[in-house]
Subunit: 393 residues, 2 copies
Amino acid sequence: MKIKINKNFLNLEENYLFSDINKRVNAYKEKNPNADIIRLGIGDVTLPLPKIIVDAMKKASDEMLSKDTFRGYPPEYGYDFIKEAIKDYYNRNNVSLDIESIFVSDGAKSDLGNIVDILGNNDIYIPNPVYPVYLDSNLMSGRRIHFIEGNEANNFLPMPDGLNNKPKVIYLCSPNNPTGATYNFNELAKWLEYAYKTGSLIIYDAAYEAFIVDSSPRSIYQIPNAKYVAIEVSSLSKMAGFTGVRCGYTIIPLELKANDVSLNKLWKRRQATKFNGVSYPVQRAAEAALSIEGVKACKENLDKYKENARLLSDLFDRKHIWYSGGKNSPYIWLKCPNNMKSFEFFDYLLDKANIVGTPGVGFGKFGEGYFRLTSFNTKENTIKAVERLEKLL
Amino acid sequence: MKIKINKNFLNLEENYLFSDINKRVNAYKEKNPNADIIRLGIGDVTLPLPKIIVDAMKKASDEMLSKDTFRGYPPEYGYDFIKEAIKDYYNRNNVSLDIESIFVSDGAKSDLGNIVDILGNNDIYIPNPVYPVYLDSNLMSGRRIHFIEGNEANNFLPMPDGLNNKPKVIYLCSPNNPTGATYNFNELAKWLEYAYKTGSLIIYDAAYEAFIVDSSPRSIYQIPNAKYVAIEVSSLSKMAGFTGVRCGYTIIPLELKANDVSLNKLWKRRQATKFNGVSYPVQRAAEAALSIEGVKACKENLDKYKENARLLSDLFDRKHIWYSGGKNSPYIWLKCPNNMKSFEFFDYLLDKANIVGTPGVGFGKFGEGYFRLTSFNTKENTIKAVERLEKLL
């Protein structure tokens, strides 16, 4: 064919991180078939869903069996019942949302990728290291990308100091994937102040909010006036173990206007054209997860992950190894000992302790020399890994 | 804020079709509270899901309850089990698909909207009247749109005669929404020949394929060499009543290359960045629907809709009123009697027969003077509507 393709796709780098990791692990296993390898690189939940959620999904499935309760096309922005459940969930964190500002979707990744559709050719500011979707989705649209460096000095929580005063689109992820670093109230307030001053938009990824245990904001809307400058994208993936069930949501406040055009209205139009709503049984499952009882059941799972994170971060405290995360996050982001590079430490850990983690450089160039461990394995395996690391490091 | 928005959104026309219809119906009901209104405007399935599908969804939900069978992130392009089920479904229609060419999604609307992402600034050719997503998603990207006129003379099956020889992107929908018109083998072969000759891409919407009862192709890949010029988008929405369950799929053949770039590879990258796969229980439900037993159960529902369509088209045959569809489609697209305009006939039908349909002009300017009736109401109501129309027309 002679039609034109989107040439921006040719500028994307292939991401070989996880296939590279698998290759190295498989090569090691071939040489050492009896090695008891512990995987602390998992970026996905592992504990089963609470019964209250599965019951809701099954009940909704049964409704589809009968003519009187069958449901066809769902509303593109979500049923009122789930939007109300999200509103209530936020209310419990002292955030008041307009029901019209809530858009339910099949996941935060879809929304974070698709949000680019409604925006023009802006300068894009992305923390580094960070979740790769912000970068790749903007490269696909040919945007000018600028990285905001995370490092040990700023605790991997880059601030706007030193940025120019032009309007821009800024991505923030807190608690951050992969560093686990979490902005506190004052830090977020400074970002918002910068956004007001410069006419910028903040796209705030709150997917890990349920891991927060200290007083850090769980929603950017806990900061006054955030509704004038910020979109929040979140998900039930981590909060309720929904990575396989698929449900997320995006808040686009009615107050959010770019040169008098309502972003809420643009997104409504985008979703009505290119999305047809979330599966009805999934929406009922999400409603159950967001209820007071559901949140309580989900918290039991979260507490198990948090306990694993504590076991790991206690070890690095004892060893005086620098790390971020571990407290408000399932991730521990540590500085590789002896100035090892990320992949060097990967090989070292695999060889000397049979532990698999994720090289930090896989999340951006400023991740070089760092390493991510996660708390999604079992407690037994996490304890065993801590014992091995205790001896090794 | 001072950031730039996507200004193409400002060129979109608001679609007031269904809100306008509701206003007129509500105004009529207020004046005539006892009117027994029959809705033949429904564009959504109404019959409940077969038990085999709901059982599969519930079984998969139960698997999420146990650590050993719990599933996290699904593969972005679909589990192998559902890709195999789609491959088998096509095999039964004598189409052989490469498993790598199949992408499972939350619905055809998402894929039809998002496919624009991987394409460059091409001339876009869209039949008119037609499903509005092709137009709106391309307007959002600022593409140059050209309409291919459907009319009585071409039976609302526009052909490439008269089009220039430049490479272009062409949307085809067969059986067509809203006209029900269905391309036969020779007509599709001519479109493909035109696409080869001009280096064009055909985006083929096969969402209504399960309604086909004659020898018309159910997949564009039934025509030899279609894999070099056509993407096919389809859905379980109509075939299995999945409008509320949400599952569709897109076939991008490995053979499909634009100036040596594989569209399959571009879409893989797009989906891996901006999509995270379909809900596991939904994929199991879809697998059940596509099985031989599932298709048989779904056919019982389809036969009921088809019987309603037959009742309506028989009436228009008797009345010598021109129409398309009704045979391979749940839609009957009729010429408004006495040269009435679409909305004039809408008011006439509502007032004289208490029947609600959809004005054809709502699907594009070449739909003016036509009207869409659907077979998604009950048999009882369809018979009652036919009796009223028998007297009126």
